[in-house]
Structures are given as structure tokens and as C-alpha cells.
């Protein structure tokens, strides 16, 4: 019998995919959210997690970008 599941398809670069897998493994969002790891650039994740995932990602990216315009 075929199985159907609703969710969200994530397309990203491999490095970013690795970050998502890390977030999933370390349960930083409170729970696991990856349904399936598809290939190097695709993941299938739970729909409910999307808002908190987006804000988490934003926060991580911010930390990785120190203020660069010192030439002010």
C-alpha cells in the first residue's frame, strides 16, 4: 500500500543541508523534523516546524556575519 505524507520540500546547497541535518540531530528546535533525506540538495521536512526553523536559521546566519562596514 502506498504511503502519502504532507510536508515541505527543502531545496538548498549541500552545505546548508548539512546545517539542517545538524539542527535535526541536535534537536535544537525541540524535536526532530526531517522526514527524509532525499539527496545532496533536497530534504523533506515537517510543515509545522517551518516558522521556528526559519527564525533559527536567520539567527544562525546573523551570528556568522559580523558587522563588516567598519569603513564608516
Amino acid at each position: 500500500m502506498v504511503n502519502v505524507k504532507k510536508g515541505v520540500l527543502v531545496t538548498s546547497d549541500p552545505a546548508f543541508r548539512q546545517l539542517l541535518i545538524h539542527l535535526d540531530d541536535s534537536r535544537q528546535l525541540g524535536s526532530k523534523f526531517i522526514v527524509r533525506e532525499l539527496d545532496d540538495t533536497h530534504l523533506f521536512i515537517e510543515k509545522e516546524i517551518v516558522p521556528s526553523l526559519e527564525s533559527k536559521v536567520e539567527q544562525i546566519m546573523e551570528n556568522m556575519n559580523p558587522e563588516t562596514n567598519d569603513n564608516k
Binding site: 500500500m1 502506498v2 504511503n3 502519502v4 505524507k5 504532507k6 510536508g7 515541505v8 520540500l9 527543502v10 531545496t11 538548498s12 546547497d13 546548508f16 539542517l20 522526514v35 527524509r36 532525499l38 539527496d39 533536497h42 523533506f44 510543515k47 517551518v50 536559521v57 546566519m61 556575519n65 563588516t68 562596514n69 569603513n71 564608516k72
Partner: protein, 470 residues
């Protein structure tokens, strides 16, 4: 003859092969066929539609009108672009395909076009030219016209008390309906509103007019009644027309919606009326914006308005303008640091650009805005594209890309197929319908987009009456 016309059509392909982007034609397609047919019966409307068509579509209509057929091209690419244009004409109801594969031009269109072509644009508009009366003209028509249009843009960019009063109730309504502003008591500009501000003047004006027509249509107003005088006025903007010199009679027999339209054009600054009781209106230079075929490269129109912005490679922005509107738009994506009498300095920073991106403005829009408004000296030294330093343009694009690390799509995943055939069947079917997002034969997984789920369910019902478990 056929040889010649195909070769004249060919050079235009690159320009028009891109998706038809003319707002007016798009709107026309959305008008119910019955109303559209009535428009095709009016010579002025026909003539105007013809003008707004992309070059190849114009060729095709002309050939169909005079010869009853249009030549086939031997080049595959040219054939494709001709097909696209014919499709556009079909959507517009100007040509129709017969059972034998031949195309037939609409009779009403043919008659009206020929009538219009014989008379010329100015005479079919049937507006009465009045003798020019200096007294009725008022002073500085041109300046006032530009001010009017600026008022409207300023209302969007800086919705303060004072600016709100400067625009009419209908305009406020219109922006709200067009989803450019939101909120009832405190007006806030939306994403599409921001994008509107960054458009070229030609596109802005057309967007406004089209939104107005949509508003009228949604209120059950007869669209042909409004669109006809609009087109008649726009048609007056012939090449070399004398703005402010010619005045036309306001026909007292015009209906209330038509008078409304006139009021609106007055608010836009497209026409000038000193006092309503004068009974005449003047045309201003802004009218040329409406008369421009948007599909034709509109950089020429932009170049006329000389830009005032200099961007340096160190991301500093100098704006030699005191116009609050210009500054407000620049401040959308720059951190303003100094403001002087006639010049302001700002800085394009990661934060400021990200702020704009979060509002839904795209990097391409920022870049094209900076290019379109570049200082003439920048253009003279580095050309139309490099007037914005490449480093800056690239960086703005990079800042945008950095926000797009992941692309999310709502989807349904199918797994545990019973057989190879079943997997292949769903996969092929999804591909065919264009709903397939991802599939893998080894893992036997199929992912379809959100609306695709229903289709796949139907496919299952059809193929074996089997059930899918959710």
C-alpha cells in the same frame, strides 16, 4: 513579399520573445469577451490596441488585414515567436483559428482598424480642438503636472497627514484595493507598494490607470464607456504634439463616470484643467508616458528624466536632489547619514539592503532603480550599466542570495509503492501534469506539489480504483 516581411520581423524576436509584459494588453485579456468585442468596434480603441502590440503581432495583424494570411518563417526560433504572438492575438480576440487551421481576423477589428488608419490618430479621437486661450491656461502647467504626480507617489512613500490630504479619496481607495497600502487609520505601505515606487514612470502610470479601470469594473461600471475617452485622450499624444499649447473641449454630454475619469487624469497630471467651468483641458508632457508602448524598451523614457544619484565603489551614495520623494525611495535601501539643502549622503549597508529585501523589494529592482537614476556624469564616464559600480551591484545581489539559502515548497511525498509499474505510473503522470517536484527511482519516492495531490488521487482512482492511505 513574404520573404521580405519575415526578414523584417526577425530582428525583433529577441526584444519580444520575453513574456508579454504590457499591462494594458494583460488587462484587455482579462476583460469579458462581450465587452472586448464592443471595444473592437471602436476605431480609436482598435488603433490604440494596434499601437500597444509588440512588433511581430503588429506585422501579423497587418498581413491578415490586407492579405488574409501571414507568411511562415523557416527558422524554428522565429516560428516560435510568431506563434507566441498569434496566441496573444487570439487571447485578445483579434484573430481566431478556423477549423482548417487558417487564422481569421476579427471583422470588427478589421473594419475599425482600416477606418482609423485612413483618418489618422488625431481625428478618430473626435475630441474638439478649441482655440488656445492664454488666460485659461494658467502658469507653469508643466511644473504643476509633475507636482501632481509627485504628490501621489509621495503619499505612498511617506504617508503623513499632510501628504494624505494632497490626494483624492479615490486614489487612496485605489491604492488600498490594489494592495499598495494597508491599515485603516494608520496607512502603511505594502510590499507591492514598495515595488510600485521603484518602477519606471511609464510602468507606474500604466499600473495606476489599469488599477483604476479594474476598480471601475469591480464596481459594475461599463468598462467600454470609461476606456474609450481614455484612449481618445492618449491618442492625442502624437509624436510631436504640442503639450500645453493645444486645448480640447470637455464635452458636456459626457456621463458621470467619464467626467470622473477626466478628474482622475487631472489628478495624475496627465491633463491640466485650470478651473472646471472653463470647459477645456490641456495636455501635458506626462501624457507621453501613457502613449509609450511599454513592450518597447522604456529606457529611452527613463533617460529623459536626468538622474541625480552617484554611487561610489565604497558603497557611498550621493543624491543631488531635494525632492523628498526621491530621498524617501533611496532611504528604503540606504542608511542616510547626512542631509544638506540640495544633496544627501547615504551608505548602502548590508543591514539597509536586508531591510529592503525583507519588505519584498528585490535586488534587481534596487539595481535597476540606481541605474535608471544615475547621474548623467556617471553614465558619461562608465556607460548605462556600469554607472552603478559592479562591486556594488554584485554585493546587493549577494545579499539577496544569502537570504535564499533554502527554498521551501509545500508538497506531498509518496513512498512504499507496491510495484515498479505503480511508481513509474505516478511518476510519469506527475511529470506530464507538471506537478512533479522530485522523484528517485532507487528510493522509489515521488514528491508532487500541493495541488498535485488531488490529481494523483484521481489517477489512482482511475487506474485501479485503489485507495491511498493518508
Amino acid at each position: 513579399m513574404s520573404q521580405e516581411s519575415t526578414s523584417t520581423a526577425a530582428p525583433n524576436t529577441t526584444g519580444t520573445s520575453s513574456k508579454n509584459s504590457c499591462l494594458f494588453l494583460d488587462f484587455l485579456i482579462s476583460v469579458p469577451p462581450k465587452e472586448r468585442q464592443r471595444m473592437l468596434q471602436k476605431p480609436s480603441c482598435c488603433f490604440f490596441i494596434y499601437r500597444m502590440l509588440p512588433p511581430i503581432a503588429q506585422q501579423v495583424t497587418i498581413q491578415l488585414i490586407w492579405k488574409g494570411s501571414f507568411p511562415k518563417a523557416d527558422d524554428l526560433e522565429v516560428t516560435k515567436s510568431i506563434e507566441d504572438q498569434v496566441k496573444l492575438l487570439e487571447d485578445l480576440g483579434i484573430v481566431s483559428k478556423q477549423a482548417n487551421g487558417k487564422y481569421l481576423i476579427d471583422n470588427d477589428y478589421k473594419r475599425s482598424y482600416m477606418y482609423a488608419a485612413m483618418l489618422g490618430a488625431a481625428s478618430i479621437s473626435s475630441l474638439v480642438l478649441e482655440t488656445n486661450d492664454e488666460k485659461r491656461r494658467g502658469k507653469e502647467v508643466e511644473k504643476k503636472a509633475v507636482e501632481r504626480w509627485d504628490c501621489i507617489l509621495r503619499y505612498l512613500a511617506l504617508p503623513s497627514e499632510e501628504n494624505t490630504q494632497a490626494v483624492s479619496e479615490t486614489t487612496r481607495n485605489l491604492f488600498k484595493k490594489a494592495n499598495f497600502t494597508s491599515g485603516d487609520s494608520r496607512i502603511e505601505i505594502t510590499t507591492s507598494g514598495f515595488q510600485f515606487l521603484l518602477l519606471s514612470p511609464v510602468k507606474q502610470m500604466w499600473t495606476y490607470v489599469i488599477e483604476y479601470l479594474k476598480l471601475e469594473m469591480s464596481q459594475g461600471q461599463d468598462i467600454v464607456e470609461v476606456i474609450e475617452p481614455l484612449i481618445q485622450i492618449v491618442l492625442l499624444a502624437n509624436r510631436g504634439f504640442k503639450a500645453e499649447k493645444e486645448c480640447y473641449q470637455i464635452d458636456p454630454s459626457w456621463s458621470i463616470p467619464q467626467q470622473e475619469l477626466l478628474n482622475h487624469l487631472r489628478e495624475l497630471g496627465v491633463i491640466f484643467i485650470r478651473k472646471r467651468k472653463d470647459g477645456v483641458f490641456f495636455l501635458t508632457h506626462l501624457l507621453t508616458h501613457l502613449a509609450t508602448n511599454e513592450t518597447i524598451d522604456d529606457t529611452s523614457a527613463e533617460r529623459v528624466s536626468n538622474g541625480k544619484v552617484i554611487v561610489e565603489t565604497n558603497f557611498r551614495v550621493y543624491a543631488y536632489t531635494s525632492s523628498l520623494l526621491q530621498l524617501a525611495i533611496i532611504a528604503l535601501f540606504t542608511e542616510m547619514t547626512y542631509r544638506f539643502q540640495d544633496m544627501s549622503v547615504g551608505m548602502i549597508t548590508r543591514e539597509s539592503v536586508r531591510g529592503a529585501l525583507q519588505h519584498g523589494i528585490t535586488a534587481a529592482q534596487i539595481i535597476s532603480f540606481l541605474r535608471a537614476n544615475a547621474h548623467p556624469q556617471c553614465i558619461a564616464t562608465s556607460g548605462a550599466i556600469n554607472c552603478l559600480p559592479i562591486t556594488v551591484a554584485d554585493q546587493i545581489r549577494l545579499w539577496e542570495d544569502e537570504r535564499r539559502r533554502m527554498d521551501l515548497k509545500d508538497a506531498y511525498i509518496y513512498s512504499h509503492f507496491e510495484s515498479e509499474d505503480e511508481f513509474q505510473g505516478v511518476c510519469d503522470y506527475a511529470q506530464e501534469r507538471g506537478i512533479l517536484l522530485w522523484a528517485n527511482a532507487q528510493q522509489k519516492l515521488v514528491i508532487v506539489n500541493e495541488e498535485g495531490h488531488e490529481y494523483v488521487r484521481q489517477w489512482y482512482k482511475r487506474s485501479k480504483g485503489g485507495e491511498t492511505s493518508t
